[in-house]
């Protein structure tokens, strides 16, 4: 039972990390109509900037500021220099251009920092583990990731549903042309949304640092799963991104943890393990296919 709870926590933690990435991606995709493959690169920029500053100053707080700042600046510059020219172009052009940004940023980071992964120390305050229940020991750092993720989700909920900017964002994701026709400075809104998305990706990158390795190409690893989240949740819907992230996080973790064991009941050990590993890595894509069959626009499509 404690093992099951621990796996649930693991799934939750993976889920909120995905949410931080997916929230930005779904807004950019839903409101601006841009397929931004370079979202993962912003995640990487955040991680590197945070790591660098933590390494130089030893302060995790300054690291947070650096990561958020660097990610937001990268995002805004990227929007102004490249993305802005792509709104009227078709998705293929957008994919090509943002893919080029991935290659350029990866190469730039390789030149600056080399190919060897960087080491990020855990903030001393969040080191160690706590016993949540008898027998259920869980790392404090992972718990704080869950906490931060949920706080960000709540903050985004308030921002989107309770503020004027949020209203414009919602309107923009439902009917872009009408918002423009009403005289809203849509360019400003776009830059803002892109910057916000980048900020969240930077935060995710920074928090991933002490658990995962900070390395070139780290963004592409999480990007594909993030796109699955966006598709399942419904393009443009923050609420959809939130629930889809948690579903994907938990489903992926549970499949990995329990499927081989279940298969072992009916098959030979090594075959069960190999098959289980195969199916569990396909699991989230199967889930995406199923969701698309039932709800072709995703679970919480913005315009449904």
């Amino acid at each position: 039972m404690t093992l099951f709870l621990e796996q649930m926590l693991n799934g939750l933690q993976f889920g909120v990390m995905l949410f931080l990435m997916a929230a930005g991606l779904t807004l950019i995709f839903g409101i601006m109509g841009i397929i931004n493959l370079a979202h993962g690169s912003i995640y990487m920029v955040g991680a590197y900037a945070g790591t660098l500053v933590i390494g130089q100053t030893g302060s995790f707080l300054l690291g947070i500021l650096a990561a958020l700042g660097a990610a937001a600046v990268t995002g805004v510059v990227m929007e102004m220099v490249v993305i802005r020219r792509l709104y009227r172009r078709d998705h293929l052009d957008q994919v090509l251009a943002t893919f080029a940004i991935i290659l350029i940023l990866n190469q730039l980071v390789t030149i600056l920092f080399g190919r060897q992964p960087l080491f990020v120390p855990m903030p001393p305050l969040l080191e160690g583990s706590v016993e949540l229940l008898p027998g259920l020991v869980y790392p404090v750092y992972r718990l704080s990731i869950i906490l931060v993720g949920l706080l960000v989700a709540a903050g985004l909920y308030l921002l989107i549903n309770r503020t004027r900017i949020g209203m414009l964002v919602r309107a923009g994701s439902t009917n872009r042309d009408m918002v423009r026709a009403l005289g809203v400075d849509i360019r400003m809104l776009y830059t803002l949304v892109f910057g916000l998305g980048a900020l969240l990706a930077g935060l995710a990158g920074l928090m991933a640092g002490p658990i995962l390795a900070v390395q070139v190409g780290m963004g592409e690893q999480i990007l594909i799963t993030t796109f699955v989240v966006v598709v399942i949740g419904g393009v443009g819907s923050i609420r959809g991104a939130f629930f889809a992230s948690l579903i994907i996080g938990v489903v992926d973790t549970m499949l990995r943890a329990y499927l081989p064991g279940l298969l072992r009941q009916v098959m030979v050990g090594s075959e069960a393990d190999a098959l289980g590993a195969g199916i569990s890595s396909m699991g989230i894509y199967l889930l995406m296919a199923l969701v698309l069959l039932v709800r072709p626009k995703g679970l919480f499509a913005a315009d449904s």
Partner: protein, 389 residues
Amino acid sequence: MRMKTVLLTAAASAAMAVTGWAQEPVKIGMITTLSGPAGYLGQDIRDGFQLAIDAEGDKLGGVPVTLMVEDDGLKPGNGRQIADRFLNNEGVKLFTGIVFSNVAGATVPDIVDGEAIYVSPNAAPSNMAGKGCHENYFVVSWQNDSLHESAGQNATNLGYKSAFVLAPNYQAGKDAISGFKRFFKGEIVGEVYTRLDQTDFAAEMAQIRDAKPEVVFQFHPGGLGITFMRQYQQAGLLDAVPMVVAEPSMDGVILNAVGEAAIGVNVSSHWNSDFDNEANKAFVAAWQKAYDRPLTYYASQGYDAARVIASALKATGGDIEDLDAFRDALRKADFQSVRGTFAFGPNQHPVQDWYALKVVAGEDGKPVLKTGDRILENHSDAYAAECKL
């Protein structure tokens, strides 16, 4: 008469082309993984290889060479395309470089069937060591299984009775687990296949804690290994369950990234930077002079691959058109390996010694790998007997 002249001219120009070609540098095609989290593996192989070329002044075995390097991005399809281009457009006859077994599996068959030689500096999947062996396919590193057989023997020697094993779900991962099991005499209490692109191992950590093994064996090369080790430590398992691994899970870079937490981990390897032989001393000194980063065994394998190629180029005078002669020269492995003893077995994979290493605190407090006892002597691999060359 006229026909005869044409033929003669053709023959003459062909002869000229051949002699002209012989003066050209020998092209060596290196397909390796330079991007992504495992990019440092290919980088080290490339730089180790280059070190041997630089030592002779752009030559190997006295023959001028050109090293052509391309990044496969850890994608089997890319590797195959690069090989195709090198073979058909560039006329490359000598290949090396591949890091990952899944890339090797897709790429090497095309190379060796295309009348070219492939010398592996790393990946050596089981399916190409036994019945699938090929006269044009040479391995200077090890066979995948034998790498982890040494870890299995090490765990047995250390007296562990139960083990939890983990490896990524691809050919080398399966080879790793079957290799470990072949030489581990205890019980396997858990067997988990992870993903080659996995970044978070929290679910696996929970399973390990639940299974309560005496020892954990894991195979996670490159960036995967760093992540795994750190999360193992963060989950509080490093103090609770000791770890026995083969060298890919604890190379110089991983050790550097994991830091002091790695002290006490048992590693098995065919090479270590502290090996006491002339070739190795020269290699380590040259590396430290040329590069400002930790030395990994990948670099040593790139270096050895270049040196064994050099021995064959020297023996044949740089003629790789006569494949039979070149293969015979390669097979002799007439060079001083940085790992000490080295010979090719019947399947053209290495026969070599394996050593137990342990992570200890170095003189400056930073953890280092220290060589201990020999685990296996003149060890070949489990598939050599199936190979009919």
